[in-house]
């Protein structure tokens, strides 16, 4: 590791923040657009009125650090959630810049939407504190969004992306429930390998109705199935990802980026390798982040006997396909790429399996029907069947695995 890394380790992070703030324009272009929200907090606290069916989010893009399961520190680019911090204020945007600096999360904060919402997602590009030589714009690509427009697709080639110190508000009307994902699409091979990825799913409009399927009543559903066949009691977003530590090290060391030799050696679920995946809490933040939590997503799955558990599985790694499988219980696959698995005339195309293979940019909705007679204390496993990826670099036994604990 070289100078910048050591610098960050040895100098109080406050100094870094100060440098960051000083380097940005005084007012910048930070503007959070959210109907009914006057102070730019992207929420309606303090007496503001939330319009019906409206959802707002404020994400920042920047850099930070995460810790791999073997202790390896990794430099990342990423998103973090600034929702709740006033941004449109006369006194300036210091709070936003302070909150968004060195705040990158991996994976990005999960985005949960409801079908039919008016969604206003503001992205503020804070910039990469550890790479002052970079001036990269960023974007949010709502991956799989049906009937996209070019302006809100987040594809830099066909639309716009946002420069450092400024904000861009995306508007989406999610009409179709299902499991999507989001990522930055600017220089995608680099920014995605560096960590700008997260889960995104749209809950079905049918939620709240009661449907009985195989003798069980459900009020939550993966899709508008009309018959309760996608009903679930609990849901877990599970994002497959993996890092090539050589690429991340080259980035923090300001070296040429090894695209051709990219080969991921840290396979993960929701940004962690086993056994960190089953830690229910945010991981201890690296001191290099100024102790801001950066790995907040546990993949520990818990359920009671008789419950149906919806796994919203997506893959956003950039180097290969992965097979994810179960041990001890099979998966009932009811959705693929945010579509109910049915033919055009309604034929049931769902199936049971113990393994699913997903490339980058694919998603699957799988339901675990925990048998009613399961003994509490039973543990099932969900792990990659590409067995060499049950590792955290050289460390066996870890990587892309988590547990399904029956309580």
């Amino acid at each position: 590791m070289t100078t910048i890394y050591n610098y960050i380790k040895s100098v109080p992070v406050v100094t870094g923040l100060f440098l960051c703030l000083a380097s940005l324009p005084a007012n910048g272009g930070i503007l959070v657009q959210c109907p009914g929200d006057a102070d730019g907090s992207a929420d309606w606290a303090g007496g503001e009125t939330q319009p019906a069916n409206t959802k707002c989010l404020h994400l920042s893009s920047g850099d930070g650090f995460v810790t791999m399961a073997d202790g390896k520190l990794q430099y990342i680019f990423g998103f973090s959630n600034l929702t709740g911090i006033p941004a449109n204020v006369e006194t300036g945007t210091a709070d936003i810049l302070a909150a968004g600096s060195l705040a990158a999360n991996f994976p990005a904060p999960p985005i949960v939407l409801d079908e039919g919402d008016d969604v206003y997602l503001t992205l503020t590009n804070i910039g990469m504190l550890n790479r002052p030589d970079l001036f990269d714009p960023h974007s949010v690509h709502f991956h799989g969004f049906p009937q996209s427009s070019a302006i809100f697709d987040g594809l830099p080639d066909s639309g716009v992306s946002i420069n450092m110190g400024s904000s861009l508000t995306y508007y989406y009307k999610p009409n179709d429930p299902g499991t999507y994902m989001y990522h930055c699409h600017v220089e995608a091979a680099e920014h995605m390998q560096m960590g700008m990825l997260g889960s995104l799913y749209v809950r079905a409009g049918q939620n709240g109705e009661t449907h009985t399927y195989k003798g069980k009543n459900f009020t939550m559903f993966a899709y508008n199935d009309g018959d309760g066949s996608t009903g679930y009691d609990k849901e877990y977003p599970i994002q497959i990802g993996s890092f090539d530590s050589a690429f991340h090290d080259a980035s923090i060391d300001v070296q040429p980026l090894p695209f051709a030799t990219m080969f991921d050696n840290y396979p993960m679920l929701n940004g962690r390798g086993y056994p960190d995946t089953v830690n229910p809490d945010p991981l201890t933040p690296p001191v290099e982040n100024g102790e801001k939590p950066s790995q907040n997503e546990s993949t520990l799955i818990t359920a009671s006997p008789g419950e149906s558990v919806l796994l919203r599985i997506s893959n956003l790694n950039v180097t290969r396909l992965y097979t994810l499988g179960t041990l001890g219980i099979s998966m009932r696959v009811v959705g693929k790429d945010a579509k109910l698995l049915r033919g055009p005339d309604g034929k049931d195309l769902s199936y049971k399996t113990s393994s699913i293979t997903l490339g980058g940019g694919e998603s699957t909705d799988a339901i675990l029907d925990i048998p009613a007679g399961t003994t509490p204390g039973t543990t099932y496993f969900l792990y990659t069947k590409n067995l060499n990826y049950l590792s955290n670099d050289a460390e066996q036994f870890g990587g892309m695995m988590t547990e399904i604990r029956i309580n």
Binding site: G29, D118, I151, V318, D337
Partner: protein
Amino acid sequence: MKRELKTTMHCLFCTALFLFFLTGNSQAGIDGITGTTFALTVKTGRVNTPDGASLLLWGYANGNDPAQYPGPTLIVNQGETITITLSNELTVTGTGPAPNVSMVFPGHQATSSLSNPGVPGILANEARPGDSVTYTFTATHPGTYLYYSGTDPALQVEMGLLGAIIVRPSDGSSYAYNHPDTQFDREYLFLLSEMDPRIHEVVELDGAEGLAATDYLSNPFPVVWFINGRNAPDTLDQPGTGSLPNQPYNSAPLVHPGERLLMRVIGGGKDLHPFHHHGNHARIIARDGRLLESIPGAGPDLSHEVYTIQSVPGETVDAIFQWTGKGLNWDIYGTPEAGPQFVHDCTDGDADDYDDTTYEYCPDHGKKFPVILPDNLDLAFGGFYSGSPYFGNLGSLPPGEGGLNPFGGYAFMWHSHTEKELTNFDIFPGGLMTMLVIVPQGAPIP
């Protein structure tokens, strides 16, 4: 970010698209050769990649034409008996003789002709150097197929010996299969493949026997990725361009709103590629030339929609893509608040929710653009950005920005979502990527 690279690629895109739109002399749909009798020749050529490399090619050629990557797309009709005479004119470096070559036709029952059987190989009869072999098959099933060399395929397919076959159904050339639900307005081929330059270098310098000292064939590490034999941004250049003499096919899909676009996606290489199409879902109606139907005649009743097609080696996928902008909840054709030029009607005489001419989704008509866009100084612009969020509109952009989207369409990237494959031997962007441009009704599509 490397600014100079971006500018260079921008210029490449610009030149390619500018020519593509303005000269308009490219062939529509899928380029290829038609008939029932084909004379193909195997010979050497060069594959040019945008990083500046030139790789040795072993390619199929149409008769005396240059070798090409991929080989000629054979477009035939269901029920016809197809005869292909393959001549081996391959020349090689090194001490060994030129290898035999052959063709296999997964999805069809091919035989070698009794009058010109070639010599027996493991997967197919083969043509010896300087000799030929003739294959015959009946195109019993419509659909999308792959052909490739059945001789030492780990080497010969890597070297370039592969191509596509399209069998038109009896129902006619606007159908993918014999069912009304498979009708399409436009079709495009996406033959996905990859190369490991080390293999090509060894074969060029030392001959194929030089590979014996390596593990390259058993443990390949591709670093260039192709659609229809080209890497982005060359995918968007004209078909038959002189700068790519052995890579005549492009991949530059264009479509109008509401039209049904048939994607014929082929896994031509040895790796899987998740082919993500921005813009909308696509409905997979067939795999490997067989309609996804529960009983014959049912139509694609077992079809399903995806936003990423998992393309598997040797497999073909037919999918229907359609885009209208339905349900965006703002009028993509603009509202009067945005300026007088946006005043328009949505006329739905046939009560299908769409304008009868433009295919505007009428329930969204008149709804204004939902947010305020940042100032230009706060934004980075893409070359395909029209300068306006509105469909079919050209807005103002700073000097040097935009320019690739003369009709103000919506451009969507269609690409491998193994994003590593968006590079040309270490250089981003490139690789297995192209742009679909949805252009307004009336905008010409070659």
